[in-house]
């Protein structure tokens, strides 16, 4: 079970997700309490456009299904490629044929036959041949980064490729007559509407069109590049604060996951929003750690993240310099903090009642610190 989290690249996923929770979280307009409740406590299903595949290595990895908005451009590109190929071949045959016509009149007829057969083959078997030989991808699919696989995760077999491509014409049905565009055009039914395919895609769990259903295939997103993200902590106060976290605090698995999600997401949020989101979790942690109440919740969560994921367990004593003599512990509240008593850099300027007020009251020092 994974926490629904948001990535910049996952617009489709969010768009296609029917449940409002994730979208609200994406906009940051849900209450923080609920957000963390969902993230920490509830068993959250993966999004319903995600399909798990169990491999012979006995591990399960996840695919993202490709919906109509990814597949339509691929199809249009394929149509263009098909007709361009036919056009190019036709032109080549025409040029070649005019040369050969000097030799014999037989060739003209022959090239006509070749072109006709070619049109037939390309129009009916373009997808089949490419998908069978290029591992489930046509040129359009390759450009759009999608791929056809069998529903059980195996690569597509030639028979399935044949079936799903033959049935495309049924998915494009019903056809509209050409005369619906203009009165003078002939009554030829050739404008595909694709209603059947669309309805079938929206009604099935794996977003299959009729051809996919019959062939037992599905189309998945085939991400080519994905940079390995590493969260680096640049803030010098974080290791220092982390060293104050009691050593006997055992972090739970769910908590670790929540912290990682938070650390990945926090760079996209403004400082006030971070504090707002972090507060509900941080309040309990402050009690548990016996820290001061006015500590920056965002920094506390980030320090905990640092301690969990990045810090060496037997590291040398952290440099407390960045804290400037400030102690986060609750018992040290009344103590003097150096000669000129510098403004405690960890505490936000004022405990914000609302995000807007904290923005207005933030001092220059504070805005520098909280970035």
């Amino acid at each position: 079970m994974r926490v629904p989290m948001l990535r910049a690249a996952d617009h489709t996923r969010i768009m296609l997700d029917s449940r409002p929770r994730c979208c609200l979280a994406a906009l940051g307009c849900q209450t923080t309490r609920n957000y963390f409740k969902t993230a920490c406590m509830a068993d959250v299903q993966p999004l319903d456009t995600t399909i798990g595949v169990v491999t012979p290595e006995n591990i399960a990895f996840e695919y993202q299904l490709a919906g109509p908005f990814r597949r339509l451009p691929a199809y249009l590109i394929d149509v263009a490629v098909r007709w361009l190929t036919i056009f190019a071949f036709g032109l080549a045959l025409l040029v070649f044929g005019s040369f050969m016509n000097v030799v014999s009149a037989f060739f003209g007829q022959f090239s006509q036959a070749a072109l006709m057969t070619l049109i037939f083959l390309i129009n009916w078997f373009y997808g089949t041949i490419l998908e069978a030989y290029f591992n489930g991808r046509t040129i359009g699919k390759w450009i759009c980064g999608i791929r056809v696989i069998e529903v059980d995760g195996r690569p597509i077999s030639p028979r399935s490729a044949l079936l799903r491509n033959l049935l495309r014409i049924a998915d494009l049905a019903p056809m509209l007559p050409l005369s619906s565009l203009g009165e003078e055009l002939p009554l030829v039914y050739m404008i595909p509407t694709g209603i059947f395919g669309l309805v079938s895609m929206t009604m099935t769990r794996r977003m299959q069109r009729l051809g996919d259903l019959a062939a037992g295939t599905m189309v998945v997103v085939d991400e080519r590049k994905w940079q390995l993200p590493i969260a680096k902590v640049e803030d010098a106060r974080v290791p220092a604060l982390a060293s104050y976290i009691p050593g006997d605090y055992r972090i739970s698995r769910k908590m670790a996951r929540t912290l990682a999600t938070y650390a990945e997401r926090r760079q996209y949020l403004p400082a006030t929003r971070r504090r707002e989101i972090a507060r509900s979790l941080a309040d309990r942690l402050i009690q548990r750690f016996e820290f001061r109440k006015d500590i920056d919740p965002d920094l506390l969560l980030y320090s905990l993240y640092y301690k969990t994921f990045l810090a060496e367990p037997n590291e040398a004593e952290a440099d407390l310099g960045p804290l400037a003599g400030y102690s986060p512990l609750a018992k040290d509240v009344g103590k003097a903090m150096g000669l000129d008593a510098p403004r405690p850099s960890i505490i936000p300027a004022s405990a914000p009642a609302s995000p807007s007020s904290s923005v207005t009251t933030a001092s220059p020092v504070d805005s520098r610190i909280n970035r």
């Binding site: 994974r2 290595e57 007829q109 037939f120 030989y133 991400e223 590493i230």
Partner: protein
């Protein structure tokens, strides 16, 4: 070990796997995978326990490349499996999912369609399916029944006046009758072009009929429409006093058997597809459709092959000035071939033993190795019976 260290260590393998994937996607081979831009770990940290061998170009060539790829893939799989235990950050887990999926695509590839496989489908699987398939029977009955009916109605002018004209249109009937006024003798140069046109046109209609089978109604409509129009045309042409009727029948004789059977087969395959949606035989609807789809493909393949055979006949033999006897002989021959194909190749036969270790025997066969007295009695009685019989 903390997560950052772990990631840093595994990252080298992951980037190498990625570069191998890049090479496989570009060239289909592991050759020439670019060594990653990472500092080579064995040179930087010579003292670490697990030593990654130095990457050279030769290491990714041929068998070595494949072996390296598979071991890296398994390592990435293991990392993904242990991601939860390692408490990897979610972003890294997503990265691993993508990486494993990508490598999975390169490792498990489509088995390429060998021509031998399709020949086996065409000559072993297809006739048996056709022989057993109820939908094909229904489609053939509908097609040939409607065809015969329309032909009779079109032929008897007194009882059903204007039937053929209403169905096909007077103009079309007149043009087709006029086009057969002259004896058949088309210039041989045009044979290939004609055959190609028939391949494109008729096979296209067959494939379309099959595809619409999943919606059932359009398939049945195409089938019935073709049967009635063809039948009415045939009936009209067989009337007394229609010009060019002799030439018309001479023309259609040769390719008729292949083409008519092919239409019925295509519709039968399509109906099989559509029936999978309604008649599920205890499977879930989606599974049933899938099973029906895979059953229908061989029938469609046989139909397409027949369409192409018909197109060649129609292009090369039918319009030629060859004697009528040859065309009739070809027609009879092709009908015999189709019958042989359906009946001899398609007749249900016991499956050859699939090499299973488990097999069933009768009890008296077991007793031959000696055992209790009753077994001996039974076996002796059996042998006596055999002796008596001999």
């Amino acid at each position: 070990m903390n997560v950052a260290k772990l990631l840093e260590k595994r990252r080298v393998d992951w980037t190498e796997l990625e570069s191998l994937c890049d090479a496989m996607e570009l060239r289909g081979k592991t050759d020439g995978a670019i060594p990653t831009g990472q500092p080579k770990p064995d040179e930087d940290r010579p003292g670490t326990g697990k030593k990654v061998p130095a990457r050279k170009d030769s290491q990714h060539r041929g068998v070595n490349g494949v072996l390296r790829f598979s071991s890296l893939y398994r390592a990435a799989c293991a990392d993904l499996a242990l991601a939860d235990a390692y408490q990897l950050p979610p972003n890294t887990v997503t990265y691993l999912h993508r990486l494993v999926a990508r490598a999975h695509h390169q490792l498990y590839r489509t088995e390429s369609a060998s021509p031998g496989g399709w020949i086996r489908v065409l000559f072993e699987e297809a006739p048996r399916r056709i022989f057993n398939d109820g939908c094909v029977r229904v489609a053939a009955l509908v097609f040939f029944g409607l065809f015969a009916l329309a032909m009779m109605m079109g032929a008897s002018e007194e009882r059903f006046p204007q039937f053929a004209e209403n169905i096909c249109g007077t103009k079309m009937l007149e043009t087709s009758s006029a086009s057969f006024e002259k004896p058949l003798d088309v210039a041989p140069e045009t044979y290939a072009a004609r055959a190609a046109f028939y391949i494109k046109h008729n096979t296209g209609i067959g494939l379309q009929c099959f595809a619409y089978g999943i919606l059932l109604v359009p398939c049945l409509f195409t089938l019935a429409y073709n049967a009635i129009v063809l039948g009415a045309t045939f009936g009209y042409m067989s009337r007394e006093g229609v010009e060019g009727s002799e030439n018309f029948f001479e023309f259609v004789t040769a390719h008729g058997p292949f083409e008519l059977t092919a239409i019925a087969l295509a519709a039968g395959a399509g109906m099989r597809l559509g029936m999978g949606l309604f008649y599920t035989r205890g499977l879930s609807r989606v599974d049933s459709m899938r099973a029906a789809g895979h059953r229908a493909v061989p029938i469609m393949a046989a139909s397409a092959a027949m369409f192409i055979a018909a197109a060649f006949t129609e292009g090369f033999l039918s319009p030629s000035g060859a004697p009528y006897l040859i065309k009739v002989a070809w027609s009879i021959g092709s009908s015999a071939l189709i019958t042989l194909y359906f009946v001899v190749l398609g007749f249900p036969r016991p499956r050859p033993s699939s090499g299973s270790v488990v097999r069933s025997v009768r009890y008296d066969e077991l007793s031959s190795g000696g055992g209790s007295s009753s077994w001996d009695d039974a076996s002796s009685a059996a042998t006596m019976g055999v002796e008596r019989a001999t």
